[in-house]
């Protein structure tokens, strides 16, 4: 159906396209164009056409793309046509905010476990989850077969927790701790840190 290996840079853009397509669908639209999609996401229509052509033939010149069909394809490529269980480690402010966020499941993910090492947090609720002891984390994650984790611990603990997640079989980590973590090459990591985002913009001001 589509080329075996899609370049990382295109994979990086597909979630943005998917989010915009979902929004169009929610608003009742059935078709879109590379022009319209491009304006929504701030990417040129030519780039969008090129990206989409990488994984097959969609739409015909002049008739545009069927939104639902394109969404289904992008979801299948990104493997979010299923629901991934997610372990959340760190029940601080950001951890609580993520535990309470209800936007995960319609985009392919659900938090199923929340961990912390702070005795004052263990056993308390974070959203609808009872916070579990990180001491049990490796065993719990391994037994449940969880492959995706979000790390919302302080910088000083991040590497140690990441090592445990890898040991538990986690293959993808979204890291909110303000520090780079080192993992084996087969583990995917995405970092999100408000300060690095802010610092990327001030150069231009």
């Amino acid at each position: 159906m589509y080329a075996e290996k899609i370049p990382d840079i295109i994979i990086g853009r597909l979630p943005i396209y998917l989010r915009a397509l979902q929004r169009m669908a929610d608003n009742g639209a059935q078709t879109t164009s590379s022009q319209e999609l491009g304006e929504r996401v701030g990417i040129s229509a030519a780039q969008i056409r090129k990206d989409i052509s990488q994984f097959g033939e969609f739409g015909k010149q002049g008739t545009g793309y069927n939104i639902q069909f394109l969404m289904d394809k992008v979801r299948a490529i990104l493997k979010v046509d299923r629901i991934w269980d997610v372990a959340l480690v760190g029940a601080g402010d950001i951890g609580h905010a993520l535990a309470r966020y209800n936007g995960f499941s319609n985009r392919g993910f659900q938090i199923t476990m929340v961990f912390d090492n702070d005795p004052s947090k263990i056993g308390k609720m974070a959203g609808k989850f009872r916070v579990e002891d990180t001491g049990d984390m490796v065993e719990r994650i391994r037994t449940a077969g969880i492959k995706v984790a979000m790390l919302t611990v302080p910088a000083a603990s991040a590497q140690e927790v990441a090592d445990k997640l890898v040991k538990a079989g986690v293959k993808a980590i979204l890291n909110y701790a303000p520090i780079s973590i080192n993992v084996p090459p087969d583990i995917k990591v995405q970092h999100t840190d408000p300060l690095t985002h802010l610092q990327r913009m001030t150069y231009y001001l």
Copy 2:
């Protein structure tokens, strides 16, 4: 001192280098090498040397980089050798978490105002800030001369709030709303959405 225009891709990496250098400095280190820095941030030593050479001569072959000197240079380039006032719009869970986060000021930023349009939130505290009415936002931000904002409102309000921020004179927006926002070309935007980050990794699992 350094080339007039540094490529975007290098500017994107500098905050990561700065964060790692800061951590080394906090741990008492005085010098580092491209090898060590590269291992910390998961980027090749050759790439680090190339990036750093873009903006001048630092360190000598074999003696490594003076960490404080390099930090000072990177901070000056990124213009975070000062403190930028930041307006936070949206006093929900993520807004509260950011308002309470104490990692801003030592990296060049400080939240000075928090806004929401929800009468049940206006006047309440978010961290140490009293939540103000978005109705006063444009005037308040313009008068204070604030150039940087963080957007933590629902997707449905994000574009409208972004338009107001631009009107108020804001030039850089960190957008937490799960939607792309359209702004004039002279305004910088960074998006952060846990779901797009997660969706960028599952393809590889």
